[in-house]
């Protein structure tokens, strides 16, 4: 019929468009071989472009734009640190004064040479107005006897090499940019950088895309098959990253859903790199609220926690049960630290012994946007139900979860799930202190636990870490044993970093346990 004919025209047009479109799409997918552009998908949002104020996920980009004095090597390396902008360093016997000798021939992205004054200015800026300024809390003074020597004096013996290797608060920034930033706090936010690193910031589309381009005068040179441009597509969802990887839209997807790794590996197109990370999960008990103020009850709950299931479901196997709140492989982790194993019978017995055999109710809060916690929190609920403890799950956005926990402990949650990582690789002065040292107002110690013996151990150990790490470690072990006995929290699991790469990319040195959230794009090379 005539009216039917009218429909053929738009239908045919659509069909033709579809065919043309699909032909067009397959031909623009990359065939490979060129090192012009490395396409990456990541969840890393940029909260600021200011290297002094940086303290969040934008460290992924910072670590490619800027460099610290030294880099911390992964555990098991022959040396603890490797040269960054400093080629050698030494300290006085008492550990309070450190001297760094700078690398020659290094220039900032604005062309100016690296000098000791630049280092002094950068560190002082970080110490006074940095977001992670607390790492330089013990800084006394910095002097620059010549343009390639920096002398840092601390108020007490401190591991300055460790602090200077931090991924937050230790970037060396060019003097011109520092001066501009001192005058205008928003100087960097339009998308500027001024570091010494292998890449420069070419463009930034807020919340969407970051484009880095190679700095041709980088002191490390550009030998090998490194990429001259890197585009990072910011995608908060792991499944989208996987879709981009599989359809050939990106070369590197930094966070594919862990449950799909097996399926992806079966295709034979990828290599898997699994490493320890410094991130772990801790659950705090509200030790001010009965019956959680009784250590027996907390021990019972620690026995009831289904560690293996939580790792299967939350980490899909890519995790190891934690020994205390210190992540595996980071000072002062020790295999001698005791840990609980799931034992429902024992849990019930302890609960009876405490006089709460009938059970009691509990509220558990976790970050609603954290997919891992959302997956495994129900397992905790089910497990505690087996010993008569009724858990009510309360997922709240992290900012709110934290704001609520920092209020009156009597009115706060009974259990708080937290993902944590230390600012630099000293989990004694960081994790052990921040998470369980008593504090007048609750900050990270969301168990509100106060134990003077523990406090003394941790304080003393932190003080002698600079002069004798071994002695400090022994003290920390005692402290961690208290954490086991008193159980102010459950120590769930240490996360592993999983990097899935296509077989044509070599990424061996691109990740480092001491730098969570960072991939060093300079180390990514084409193979073959």
């Amino acid at each position: 019929m005539r009216s039917r004919r009218k429909l053929w025209i738009p239908a045919a047009a659509v069909a033709v468009a579809l065919v043309a479109a699909s032909a067009g799409w397959t031909s623009t997918t990359r065939t490979g071989g060129s090192t012009e552009l490395l396409r990456v998908a990541s969840t890393a949002q940029v909260t600021t472009w200011d290297p002094i104020k940086s303290f969040s996920t934008e460290v992924l980009y910072m670590a490619n734009l800027y460099e610290p004095l030294v880099y911390a090597n992964p555990p098991g390396s022959s040396t603890a640190f490797r040269p960054g902008l400093a080629t050698s360093w030494s300290r006085t016997a008492n550990g309070t004064t450190w001297t760094f000798h700078l690398r020659h021939g290094v220039t900032f992205h604005d062309g100016e040479p690296l000098t000791a004054t630049a280092v002094k200015d950068s560190i002082e800026a970080a110490a006074t107005r940095g977001a992670a300024s607390f790492i330089w809390a013990a800084l006394k003074s910095i002097s620059t006897p010549d343009s390639y020597t920096v002398v840092i004096t601390m108020k007490a013996p401190t591991r300055v090499d460790l602090i200077a290797s931090s991924e937050d608060g230790a970037w060396i920034v060019c003097p011109a940019a520092l001066a501009a930033e001192a005058k205008d706090a928003q100087y960097f936010e339009s998308g500027k950088d001024c570091g010494t690193g292998p890449y420069m910031l070419k463009s930034y589309s807020a919340g969407k895309q970051v484009v880095l381009t190679a700095y041709s005068h980088y002191w490390g040179g550009w030998s090998g098959k490194r990429y001259s441009n890197v585009v990072v597509e910011i995608t908060p969802e792991a499944i989208v990253q996987q879709q981009m990887l599989q359809s050939g839209q990106v070369d590197l997807a930094l966070s594919v859903p862990l449950e799909n790794i097996n399926q992806l590996m079966k295709t034979g197109k990828y290599r898997l790199q699994v490493r320890q990370s410094t991130r772990n999960y801790v659950g705090f008990f509200n030790t001010t609220r009965p019956p959680l103020n009784d250590p027996l009850v907390r021990q019972a709950l620690s026995y009831a926690t289904p560690y293996r299931d939580i790792i299967s479901v939350g980490a899909h196997g890519y995790g190891t049960q934690a020994r205390g709140p210190v992540p595996r492989g980071i000072f002062p982790w020790s295999a001698a630290t005791p840990q609980y194993t799931t034992n429902i019978a024992k849990a019930k017995a302890l609960l009876e012994q405490s006089g709460h055999g009938d059970g009691f109710p509990m509220t558990l809060t976790y970050a609603a946007e954290n997919q891992d916690e959302a997956r495994y929190a129900p397992l905790i609920k089910d497990a505690y139900a087996k010993i008569g403890v009724t858990v009510t799950l309360k997922p709240i956005l992290f900012n709110q979860q934290w704001a609520l926990a920092k209020g009156d402990p009597k009115k706060a949650q009974d259990m708080f799930l937290l993902q944590y990582w230390p600012t630099y690789s000293d989990a004694g002065s960081d994790n052990l202190y921040s998470l369980f040292h008593s504090s007048a107002k609750p900050f990270f110690n969301l168990s509100y636990w106060k134990d003077p013996t523990y406090d003394k151990l941790v304080d003393t150990a932190a003080g002698i870490t600079g002069s004798s790490a071994a002695k400090a470690k022994a003290l920390y072990l005692k402290a961690m044993t208290i954490l086991y006995d008193q159980a102010p929290g459950v120590y769930l699991y240490d996360m592993k970093t999983v990097l899935l790469t296509p077989k044509n990319l070599q990424v061996i040195n691109a990740t480092n346990i001491n730098y969570p959230f960072v991939t060093f794009f300079y180390a990514v090379q084409q193979v073959g």
Binding site: E259, D309, V313, A368, R375, A377, D382, L393, L397
Partner: protein, 300 residues
């Protein structure tokens, strides 16, 4: 021609006792879409009520995990397979009928209960009360309803209750406006005038006469809205702004299964299908109701 009326009960009311309602039901019984739509709704309501009995694994339906049995494809043991925590998807879908139907009906009923009286009073009285209502509803109607619900839910803290509250806040103005329009059109009908003259008090006029005639368009609107609210609740849950784990909510289940939608399609597929089916039921029924009861707006 004049009619002598001795008491308020003798006041004629259009559509009353002319058997329109019973006629309507008889017509509906014959229309296939009405049967299908009504059938779907009744079936799902039954499933929701009888969930503990119907579900093969009722504890899992409520949220109990079974980690060793996770990510299993559909089989004779698990007709719809299992999800990431090893829970039987069929049981979860069955229990999911409860929040889906419960919340959407609650939202619609509350929106009607809040909006209709306000609208009727404003429409009947007119004057400043009417103006005030119009301005207030203007504020709420200036918003895409789902966006308002998202913002409220996010700020209050994501939960099924807050999502429901947010949706009621977004939806009541529509009913207020509808009731107001209907009331205004009825305000000057002779039988209302007669009742007033007779001294029948306003509340009685409103409930007995106005409301009875307003029921039809409100009912039609409510039926169609129920479907829209179900979609809205599902959408909010998909974003993580409504029901939270381990509540068996269909939208939440679709979001949960998204990461493995290629290899474990059953985790997202069946809950999505459930949402679609229930909404389809309400839409079919709503269409037919509109055709039969309110032919003036047929085919909208």
């Amino acid at each position: 021609m004049s009619v002598t009326i001795d008491s308020p009960d003798q006041l004629p009311a259009p559509y009353r006792s002319t058997g329109a309602t019973s006629r309507a039901f008889r017509v509906l019984r014959r229309k296939p879409s009405a049967l299908l739509g009504g059938g779907i709704i009744v079936f799902i309501a039954f499933v929701a009520l009888a969930a503990p009995v119907l579900a093969p694994y009722p504890a899992q339906g409520r949220g109990l995990a079974d980690v060793p049995a996770r990510d299993l494809p559909p089989s004779s043991l698990h007709w719809f397979g299992t999800d990431h925590l090893g829970r039987d998807v069929l049981s979860r879908v069955i229990f999911g009928a409860r929040p889906a139907l419960g919340v959407s009906l609650a939202v619609v009923v509350l929106a009607v209960l809040v909006g209709v009286p306000l609208g009727m009073i404003a429409g009947y009285r007119g004057g400043w009360l009417d103006e005030a209502l119009m301005r207030v509803t203007d504020i709420f109607l200036a918003f895409p309803p789902l966006l308002l619900a998202m913002v409220i839910s996010a700020l209050l803290g994501a939960s099924l209750l807050h999502a429901a509250i947010a949706l009621v806040i977004s939806w009541w103005p529509w009913y207020a406006r509808l009731a107001r329009t209907v009331t205004q059109s009825l305000k000057h009908e002779p039988f209302i005038d007669a009742a007033r003259v007779f001294g029948v008090r306003e509340p009685l006029i409103l409930t007995r006469h106005v409301l009875r005639n307003a029921t039809t368009p409100i009912l039609v609107q409510a039926t169609v809205d129920a479907g829209t609210v179900i979609l809205a609740v599902g959408a909010l849950a998909f974003l993580g702004l409504a029901a939270q784990p381990p509540t068996p909510d269909w939208g939440l289940m679709v979001a949960d299964g998204r990461t493995t939608v290629i290899t474990e399609w059953w985790i997202s597929m069946f809950p999505g299908l459930a949402i679609f089916t229930l909404v389809l039921g309400f839409n079919l029924l709503g269409d037919v109701l509109r055709d039969v009861l309110d032919p003036r707006s047929a085919g909208r």
